[in-house]
Symmetry: C2
C-alpha cells in the first residue's frame, strides 16, 4: 500500500479549505461582536506591501482548483476575484470545495509523471505531477491558509492551531 | 506508480525546513543591516498570547522529527528548547535536517496503517500512519514555518513566497 495522487491531493486540499471556512467564520463573528466593520478584516495585511486577507483566500482557492485541474489535465473554472466581504470569501471557498469534490480518483491517479507547465508572470515553471503536488500545490495552499489565519490572529480573532488543522 | 510514505514525508519536511533556514538567514541579515537587536525578532509575535518566532521554529523542528520517528517506530531525540538567537535557531533546524537525513526509505515505507498514538497535554490522539502524515505532520510543519515567515514579514524582513516554497 502507498499513497495515491488522489489521496494526497483532493481530500487534503478540501480539508484545509474547510478549515479556512471555519477560520473566516470566526472572523465574521468577531467583527459582529466587536462591532468592527468586517471590511477592515478583509483588507488587513501584516505589512503594507503584502496581500490582504481577501487575496490570501483567493490565491488559496486558485492554487487548489488549478492544482487539481492540472493533475487531471482539465481546465479549472475562473473565478472573478471580486469578493469584498467575509461571507463572499466563504462562498468562494465553498465553490472551490464543490469543484474539488467533482474529481474522481481515476482522474487524478496516475498523474505522478504528467508534465505540468505553469506560465507565471515572469517565467515558465515545469514540473512532473508528483513534485508539482508535494512541492508546489500543497505548500502553496497551506501558505495562504496559514497566512489568512495569521492575519486574523493578528487582528485579535480567537483562532487556535486546531482551527487550522481541523478534526479528523 | 504511487507516492511512498517516505517520499511524502522526509524530503518534504527537509525541503520546508531548508527554506526556513533561508528565511531565518534573511532575518539575521536584516537585523544586522538595520542594527536591530536580533533578539527582538526572535521574541516577536503577531499577538500577545501567541508563540514568538523562537517557539514557532522549535515546534516546526519538533513536529518534523517526531513525525518521522513515529512513522519509523523509533524515539526522536529531544532538543533543549534553549535557543535565544537566530543563529541558534538555524543550528536547531540544521540538526533537525541532519536527523531526518538518517532515515532510510525502508524505515518509513509501509507505515500507512501503523497506529500512532500521541499524548497531548489534555488528550490522546490516535492516527493511522497515512492520515497522521497528511493531516497532522505536514500541515503542522507548514503552519509553523509559514507563521515564522509571517512574523518576520510583519517585522519588515524582505521575504517573499519563493523563500517559503524554495526551488526544486
Amino acid at each position: 500500500m502507498t499513497i495515491s495522487m488522489y489521496q494526497a491531493s483532493i481530500p487534503v486540499s478540501i480539508r484545509s479549505l474547510t478549515n479556512l471556512i471555519g477560520i473566516l467564520e470566526k472572523g465574521a463573528k468577531y467583527a459582529e461582536t466587536k462591532k468592527i466593520d468586517a471590511s477592515v478584516l478583509v483588507n488587513s495585511r501584516l505589512y503594507p506591501d503584502m496581500f490582504p486577507l481577501s487575496r490570501q483566500v483567493q490565491i488559496a482557492s486558485d492554487i487548489a482548483k488549478r492544482g487539481a485541474a492540472e493533475l487531471a489535465g482539465v481546465e479549472a473554472p475562473k473565478f472573478e476575484d471580486n469578493e469584498t466581504t467575509l461571507s463572499e470569501l466563504i462562498d468562494r471557498i465553498q465553490k472551490t470545495i464543490s469543484y474539488l469534490n467533482t474529481f474522481k480518483p481515476e482522474q487524478i491517479d496516475g498523474s505522478e509523471e504528467r508534465t505540468i507547465t505553469l506560465q507565471m508572470r515572469d517565467r515558465t515553471l515545469s514540473f512532473q505531477g508528483m513534485p508539482f503536488l508535494l512541492y508546489f500545490v500543497l505548500p502553496n495552499v497551506y501558505f495562504h491558509v496559514a497566512t489568512a489565519y495569521d492575519i486574523l490572529r493578528h487582528c485579535g480573532v480567537e483562532v487556535g492551531k486546531q482551527d487550522f488543522l481541523g478534526s479528523p
